[in-house]
Subunit: 207 residues, 2 copies
DNA sequence: CGACAACTAGACAGGTCTGTCTAGTTGCCC
DNA sequence: GGGCAACTAGACAGACCTGTCTAGTTGTCG
């Protein structure tokens, strides 16, 4: 019978358990606030295993964020694939976001949180975050390119901005309907971009 | 002749110098990343002065954030007061934001950064941040109330969301034009809200 | 002058952090 | 059995953290 000292029943390699523990703790409490000792205790793993596997806390942080990034990409791609209409595909990000903020464990965007922990200089967190941010913008731009709009880049930036804004509102105002609101605005922006590109004058501004 | 050991020539009370040093260091490098010793060195002040004046690091953090909050409120109010038109008043926040992100020392929203440092629980940072966030929403709602729109609350939430989104884009994508972009969207939203309230049907959605 | 308030310099306690290292255990393969 | 890789438990070093405390200095007011 193996020792049953572990905090919770765990399985998988030391690497998997460490990543799972890091994912939970770093996301819930912040990276700086969580020490190595707490991670290994949760993972039920010896300290040497962490350093043999990842080499440093910083590399564990990188692995944690990259794993989060992959998961987010997968969820978004899956949702995009569910739709035929390009408009709907562009709005899919807000549906994924609505699911995320509805979870009781939601604590904001892991990438924004991690990046904000050290506002200065080039950090691992900012590096990984920049990657997923570029990916999202690129993906939105591709989709916008399938529409007949004047500037796919502008439309992608607008939608990405709403996505971030909704994340912040959900996090700090506890506004769980923020993604829905953002989706509505995004929908309006897509319509407007389509109309303008079709030669319709920009809507007259009434005062 | 007084000792000239100070890092830079400083004047004002110990309290003022501490606040100035905290403002600079906490904002640039993050709150957790900056120790007390660094603050007092920058301020040219003894450690006992800090603890006599503020009592704890946490209270210094509170004072730092409250000071930032007051400054932001003042800037926004000043800009709002420059306009007659309510529409323009509502868009004034984006002009203040454009000024802020243009500064080379810009490192993102101090309140979002501070709040993100500890994602869990009730912290001083989240408390102060919640205050200024409520203030901004309330102010926008007041202004929206002066317009003839169906839901001033909804319009205020939309604009606040754009404000946050622009802040994030400026910070993490280094997109210094984000406030301008957000302003454009906000303008569109105000128009739309006005039209809808005037009995105009919501814009037909073309596919 | 004498008292007092506000300040400075810096040692110190007690805690936490990352990362290293020793020593021992387990399980698998030849 | 013998060897090896992966693991565990935990002491330890060295750094940094907040907050307290002692002791001395400066400036002002009566």
């Amino acid at each position: 019978m193996p020792p049953t000292k572990q905090v919770a029943k765990l399985e998988g390699s030391a690497r998997d358990r460490l990543l799972a523990a890091a994912d939970d703790l770093f996301y819930s409490h912040g990276i700086q606030a969580v020490g190595i000792d707490r991670v290994i205790e949760r993972a039920g793993v010896a300290k040497a295993s962490l350093y043999n596997t990842f080499g440093s806390k910083d590399e564990l942080v990188r692995a944690y964020l990259e794993q989060r990034g992959e998961r987010r990409k997968e969820r978004i791609e899956k949702r995009i694939a569910e739709y035929e209409d390009v408009r709907d595909k562009m709005l899919a990000v807000f549906e994924v976001q609505a699911d995320a903020v509805a979870a009781p464990s939601f604590r904001g965007c892991a990438f924004l949180n991690a990046s904000a922990e050290d506002p200065a200089g080039e950090t691992t967190a900012r590096e990984v975050s920049a990657g997923i941010r570029r990916w999202l913008h690129g993906r939105l731009q591709e989709l916008a390119g399938d529409l007949d709009v004047a500037s796919p880049d502008d439309l992608a930036k607008q939608i990405a901005m709403l996505y971030d804004g909704a994340s912040v509102a959900a996090t700090f105002d506890n506004d769980r309907k923020a993604p829905e609101r953002a989706k509505g605005i995004a929908s309006l922006l897509i319509d407007t971009a389509l109309e303008t590109a079709r030669g319709g004058a920009p809507r007259p501004r009434k005062r």
